[in-house]
Amino acid sequence: MEQVKRRLSCIVCPMSCQGEVTLENGSVTGITGFTCPRGEKYAREEVVAPKRTLTTTVRISGAQLPLLPVISKTALPKDKVVDCARFLSNIRVQAPVKEGDVVCADILGLGVDIVAARDLL
C-alpha cells in the first residue's frame, strides 16, 4: 500500500494553519493540524481537486469608475482560473449595477456565476 503525506497551508482564512494530509492509494485517510472544519474540507479538496475563488474586474459604462470588481460566486477549478479571467476581460456591463448582480452566468460552462462585488450607480 502506498502512503503519501502532504503538508499544506490552509488558505481559507488569514490564520494560515499548517496541516498534513495522509493519502493512501489516492484517497484521503488522515488529516491533522487544521484548527477548524473548514480547513479540513479545504485540505481534502486541495489534494484531490483544488479550487480557487476568482476576483477580477470587468469594464463598465456609465459609472463614475471604468471598472467593476467581480467575484466568482463559488470557487472555480484552480486550473480554469486564468481562462476565466481572460474571458472576463472581454466583457462590458452597463451601470447601474448592484452588488451580487450576475455579470456572467455559468462562466465557461463551469456552473459558476460571476457577480458584481460592489454597487456602481
Partner: protein
C-alpha cells in the same frame, strides 16, 4: 463659514466609518466624516480580492464588499455628514479644522472631539534608496493596484516585485490574471512578510518564483525600465559580492512597507511612538492631546480590516463620550512596554478610570520570526497573562484580551515579552 460638530473624523476608510457609527451609537448628535477621495471606503475600494470580514461579518467579502456594508450604514444615518473630495489642510489644538474642496472652497470646522483615521502610506523608492536613473515604470504596489483595479491601466507587461508583503503578493496574482508576466518576487528578509495563504495562492499557484534574502541593487533603462540587477544578501542584509544577476522587466513594483500617515498628528505635536510611527494612545485610543483620538492604520499598520473597524469603534465611542463630557478622567496611567522580542504594542498605556473597568485588547508585533515561545505579560513581577505560541511572525499581529480584573489590578508598568 463655521460648522460645529460633536465628533469630526478625518479619513473615511474602515476605521473612520466604524468610528462615526460608534460615536452616534454612544450619543454624539452631530458627526462629520471628511474624506479626500471621491467616495468613502478608503483603500478597501482597490482591494478587490476576497478575505475581508471573516470576524466582523462572519463571511468572506471583497474589499469593496466590506466597504459597501459600512457605507450603507453610514448613509442610513442622517446625523452623519460626509464631505467627499475634501482635503484637511490643518488642524489646531483647540479642535478647529481647516479643509478645502472644489465645491465649497475653504471650510472651517469646529469639533468637540477629533478622530484621526488617515490610514497609512506606502514606502517609496526614495525610502529604500535603489540606484539607477529615473526611467518610467517604477511604482509602489498600491499605486499599481489602484491603476489595475480602479482606473483600468496595466503598469507594465513584464514585472518584478520587490517586497513580499501582502500587497506585493496580491499584485503578483492580479497582474498575472490581467495578462502580465510576473518574473519574480524578491524579498530582503529570509522570510516572507505576507500571510502564508497569500504566498500559496498568489505565487505558488502561478509558479512565480520568490527569492528570499535578495534585493535589487540597480534599476536599468533610460526612458523606460528595461531590467533590474538583483543580488543575494547575507544575514546582516549586506549584498554578497558576486551573487548579482539580471532580470528583464519593463516595470518594477515596490511593496516595501507601510507607514502611518501622520502629517496632521505632527502639526499638533502629538506624542509619537517611534516604532509604530503612529501616535501614542491609551485603550480608548485617546492621544497625548485630550479630545484627539486615533484609530486604524494611522496608529499602527494592521493585518486585518476587522481589527481596524474594531479600533474605530473604540475611538468613536470614547470620542463621543469626550464630546458629551462623559469620558472619565484617568486616576492613574500605566505604561505598557514591549520588550524581549516584542517590537510594538498598542495601546502604549492604560488610563485607569474609577468606572468599572473593561477588558483591554493588546495588539502586538514581534521583531523577528520565532518558534515555540511564550508570550508573557507581567506587571511588578506579577504574571497577568501567558500564552504559548507555536509560531510568531512579524507579519502577523498577536492579539491578547487582558481581562478587566487584571486591568484594574495594575499599578506599575506592564511589560510584554517573549520567553523561550
Amino acid at each position: 463659514m463655521m460648522n460645529d460638530y460633536d465628533v469630526v473624523i478625518i479619513g473615511g476608510g474602515p476605521a473612520g466609518m466604524a468610528a462615526a457609527l460608534s460615536a452616534r451609537k454612544t450619543g454624539a448628535e452631530k458627526v462629520l466624516i471628511i474624506e479626500r477621495d471621491r467616495e468613502l471606503g478608503g483603500i478597501l475600494q482597490q482591494c478587490i480580492h476576497n478575505g475581508f470580514g471573516l470576524h466582523r461579518f462572519k463571511e468572506e467579502l471583497t474589499g469593496p464588499g466590506y466597504a459597501g456594508r459600512y457605507i450603507k450604514m453610514v448613509q442610513a444615518d442622517p446625523s452623519i455628514d460626509v464631505l467627499l473630495d475634501t482635503m484637511v489642510l490643518d488642524v489646531e489644538q483647540d479642535k478647529i479644522i481647516y479643509a478645502v474642496n472644489p465645491k465649497q472652497g475653504m471650510l472651517t470646522i469646529q469639533a468637540k472631539a477629533v478622530i484621526f483615521t488617515m490610514g497609512c502610506r506606502e514606502r517609496t523608492r526614495g525610502a529604500i534608496r535603489i540606484a539607477g536613473g529615473r526611467a518610467a515604470g517604477v511604482f509602489t504596489a498600491g499605486a499599481a493596484q489602484r491603476m489595475v483595479n480602479m482606473e483600468g491601466f496595466l503598469p507594465g507587461k513584464k514585472i518584478v516585485i520587490l517586497g513580499s508583503g501582502d500587497i506585493g503578493l496580491i499584485m503578483a496574482r492580479r497582474l498575472t490574471l490581467e495578462g502580465a508576466k510576473v518574473q519574480a518576487v524578491l524579498e530582503l528578509m529570509p522570510y516572507s512578510n505576507g500571510l502564508t495563504r497569500n504566498v500559496v495562492q498568489c505565487l505558488e499557484d502561478f509558479d512565480i518564483p520568490l527569492h528570499l534574502s535578495h534585493t535589487i541593487v540597480k534599476v536599468h533603462g533610460k526612458e523606460r525600465v528595461t531590467g533590474v540587477t538583483c543580488a543575494k544578501v547575507d544575514e546582516n542584509r549586506a549584498v554578497i559580492p558576486g551573487s548579482e544577476f539580471d532580470i528583464e522587466c519593463d516595470c518594477l513594483l515596490l511593496s516595501v512597507g507601510l507607514i502611518p500617515e501622520n502629517e496632521l498628528s505632527r502639526t499638533i505635536d502629538l506624542a509619537m511612538d517611534s516604532l509604530t510611527s503612529g501616535p501614542i494612545v491609551d485603550q480608548f485610543r485617546q492621544t497625548s492631546l485630550p479630545g484627539f483620538f486615533a484609530a486604524g492604520n494611522v496608529v499602527h499598520v494592521h493585518d486585518l480590516v476587522d481589527f481596524v473597524s474594531q479600533e474605530g469603534e473604540i475611538a468613536g465611542n470614547a470620542a463621543a463620550k469626550y464630546a458629551l463630557g462623559q469620558l472619565p478622567k484617568a486616576q492613574r496611567v500605566v505604561d505598557i512596554e514591549a520588550t524581549g522580542g516584542v517590537r510594538t504594542v498598542v495601546p502604549q498605556h492604560l488610563s485607569i478610570t474609577p468606572e468599572s473597568p473593561e477588558s483591554v485588547r493588546l495588539f502586538m508585533r514581534v521583531g523577528k520570526p520565532e518558534q515555540r515561545i511564550t508570550l508573557v505579560i507581567e506587571s511588578a513581577g506579577k504574571m497577568l497573562y501567558t500564552r504559548k505560541l507555536a509560531v510568531a511572525k512579524p507579519g502577523e499581529m498577536i492579539v491578547v484580551e487582558l481581562p478587566a480584573d487584571k486591568v484594574c489590578e495594575c499599578t506599575n508598568k506592564i511589560t510584554v515579552s517573549l520567553v523561550k
